[in-house]
Structures are given as C-alpha cells and as structure tokens.
Symmetry: C2
C-alpha cells in the first residue's frame, strides 16, 4: 500500500487497517464467535506487512472487540461465551462466593423517548423506544431492580418473551436476536434512597440506601444503543473498580 505522501492530516497505516477491519465487523462479514482470516491473509488482502495488520488487531484486541488465541486464530468477541457472560457486571459478593443469577421479568412496554433519553441514545425526542423492567436475583435474593430503555428501530420484535428467554443476559440476546453487539459502556454511580415501588420489589423499607448505576452501552462506532438504570442492594455485595 502506498505510503503517506505529505497527507494533510497524518493517520498511521495500522489505524486505517483497523477501520477496514471494523467495517467488515459491522457489515457482518465475520460474526460474533467466528474466526477472522489469519494475519498473513489479511496482510495480503490489505497489501501491507503482517506487522501492520498485527498492530491493528492488537488494538482491537485490547478493546475486547477481537480475541486472540495463540495457535488457533483470532476471533470476534461475543457476549454469549460462558466465561464472559457477565462482562459488564461488576457487582460481586463480599465473601467472593459464586452465585446463581436469575431474571425476574416485570414489564416490557412500547414508549416514546423523553428529551433526556433521546439525547443519550442519539435519537429524536418522542421516537419509539422499548422499556424493560426486571428484577435480578442472586442465589434467590432480589438484588438489582433494572430499568432498561432501547431504541425500537434496531430492536424490532423485542418483547417480553425474548426478555424472559434471555435469562438475565440481555447482551447475548441482543447479539443473537438482533445482531447488535455492545463493545463498551459508561457507568455513573450514586447512592440514593429507595423509592416506594423499588423498595417493595427488593423487599426493603422506603429510603433504604441503594447503589444507583446508570449505564449507557455502545456498539461499533461508539453508537449508543442502550440506557439502563440499575438500583442495587449492596449490603452483601460491592461494585469493583480498577484504577490505573
């Protein structure tokens, strides 16, 4: 491939390759869980050296978009694999015990986006959305009251049956049912007092301190695709965060 010739805004080759690979991912050329072509093949295809492809893949791998397995190949990351089913769930038991997660469906409604939600999801105010409410229980004890909002367009056909079948992992359901893969999320945490209905669902008195987790999830290209508010009882659990 031609070198950069005094290009106005310089962009490294490997970043351009990264974009090309990402485009193939968006286009669905390689689906979640599948293996992508080997570095040598991609190098030939893009007419660059193997080292340049490697650098592009390295970058996508650190972003958890691709997964490298020595001796086997490079794979498209997925939320369905057992190991990473709860990749975005940072809540763990204080005593470190393994827990059984269960999903208790509350409601699933067709609604319209408020101004706030429309700005977050990058859609028009009043655009069609789908709202899901559910209760997550750990080892039988209700711990998280979840309120989820997604734009209706990419999730046409999402209903209570699909939510109940998802069995707690909305992300793998989004992936298999709608081809929407989340690659990144931002969370904002607060301590709040439990409101009446939430307190009732969690079996608490009103005003009990809850950890409020507001999450926005992004798919390829940093497109916001889900808003979520989780209210968590943290008496026996905590949220883990690593600072580096």
């Amino acid at each position: 491939m031609d070198k950069q010739l005094t290009s106005p805004s310089y962009r490294p080759l490997y970043e351009q390759i990264k974009v090309l690979i990402t485009q193939s991912l968006i286009a669905g050329e390689w689906r979640p869980g599948e293996m992508i072509p080997s570095e040598i093949e991609l190098a030939a295809r893009f007419k660059v050296s193997q080292g340049t492809v490697r650098k592009a893949i390295d970058s996508l791998a650190t972003e958890n978009i691709l997964i490298r397995r020595q001796g086997k190949g490079t794979f498209v990351a997925t939320h369905s694999a057992d190991v990473i089913k709860l990749r975005f769930l940072r809540l763990t038991a204080v005593n470190g015990q393994k827990e059984l997660l269960q999903n208790e469906f509350i409601s699933c409604d067709k609604t319209k986006a408020s101004t706030y939600i429309s700005q977050i999801l990058g859609i028009k105010a009043g655009a069609a959305t789908i709202e899901v409410k559910r209760l997550l229980t750990f080892s039988g004890r209700p711990l998280i009251y979840d309120h989820i909002i997604v734009p209706a367009a990419p999730f046409k056909g999402l209903n209570s049956v699909k939510v109940e079948e998802s069995n707690g992992s909305m992300y793998s359901m989004y992936e298999s049912q709608f081809g929407v893969r989340m690659i990144r999320a931002e969370e904002r945490l607060k301590a709040v007092a439990a409101e009446k209905d939430v307190a009732k669902s969690l079996g608490l008195r009103e005003g009990y301190p809850l950890l409020s987790i507001e999450r926005v999830s992004f798919t390829y290209g940093d497109n916001p695709m889900e808003w979520r508010l989780g209210l968590c009882l943290t008496d026996d659990h905590h949220y883990m965060s690593e600072l580096e």
Copy 2:
C-alpha cells in the same frame, strides 16, 4: 542478551526487560517526572534490539508507570503534574463543572493495625500504622469524609502538618516526601447510610445515603501501601466508570 535456551518456563525477552526497568524505578535510578534513557541507549545497555525495549516500555506506558512523549523522551509518571493530580478521583459534578477541591484536616493518629487492615496491607496484626481523617470539600461544600490508613514504617515522619500541606493530594505528598509512588488502586463501592459523626461532618441527617468507596492502593511490585475509606455525598456528583 542470550536467547532462551529450552528454559523450563518460557518468558519473553521484553518481559525480562520490563522487570529490569521496573527494578531501576524501584531503586530510584530515575525519579518521578524525570526522563529515562532513550530506547536506543536502553537497547545497548540490555543488549537487545530497540524493538524489544520498545515493547517493554509500551507495556509500562499502558500501565501508566511511564509516559511517552514523541520528540521529547520517555518519562517516569508522577502524581504531581497538575493534569493528573486527581488521577484516582473518579467523582465528578453531574453538571460537568470544574470545581475547586479543598482539604479540611480532621485528625492524624498513630495506631495499630487491626486484623483486617493487616491482611490488606500485608503487615503483621498490631503493627504500627498511621490514620488520617479529613474532609474534602468541592467549591466550599463538604462532599467526602475520608479515613486513611498507611503502614508507619515507610511513612516515618508523616504528621498532621504534612497532611495539611498536601492540600488534598496525598499521593503527590507520598511521592515527594517518602518516595512512595502509587501505580494502581482497587476500589469497592457500596451504598450505605450515614452514621452519626460522618453525617455531622457532612452536614446531613443520620441515615442519609452515601457512596462508600473502599480503596487499596499499590506501589511498584503490587505492594499494598494505603487503605482508604471515602464516604461521599452524591446528590450532585457521580462516580464515573468505563467498561470495556
């Protein structure tokens, strides 16, 4: 440098170089903020190629232990630089406004490690520790009640004067006064009800929901060097977390 000759447990060369560089950092050969030798110099010193040194430095740079500056050199990261003074503080105002942080000293005592603290800090139960309590105010409003415990040995001479002079940034004080640089921290978050004395300090009623942040900070070699419990009022602030 000699290649690996059928070594029982294989370790890449660049990881060994990484260890050597880290050792020089621990030994204080290059101090925080200083520039380390160029890649070419280090390659000559360790008798490996520049690319191998580069890979070791890359790794240390992504861990925020070194900082690369194109055209200038590679520098030892520090907590004193203005830009990253609050590197470990994830609490930001909901409206995104910039705020003035101030430090209100409460107490500084010589104590002995409880069983819990001794396990966390990797010292003997009953070993000498130093406990600091303080109030952090943002734009004049008290927002965080901090309880800090460090082992006495590495922080000999730490007293109320030094805490007050630190003006909120304990980490840059640890660095300049005691040569202890924190490179990583783990935080565990919960929602709790404000206890009496904390509520009073923050100007709240007892039982008010607070965000509890328990933090353990590590210096080179993953040595735990500080335990901290912050109780935060999150009415107008939230804790930011990125999931990838």
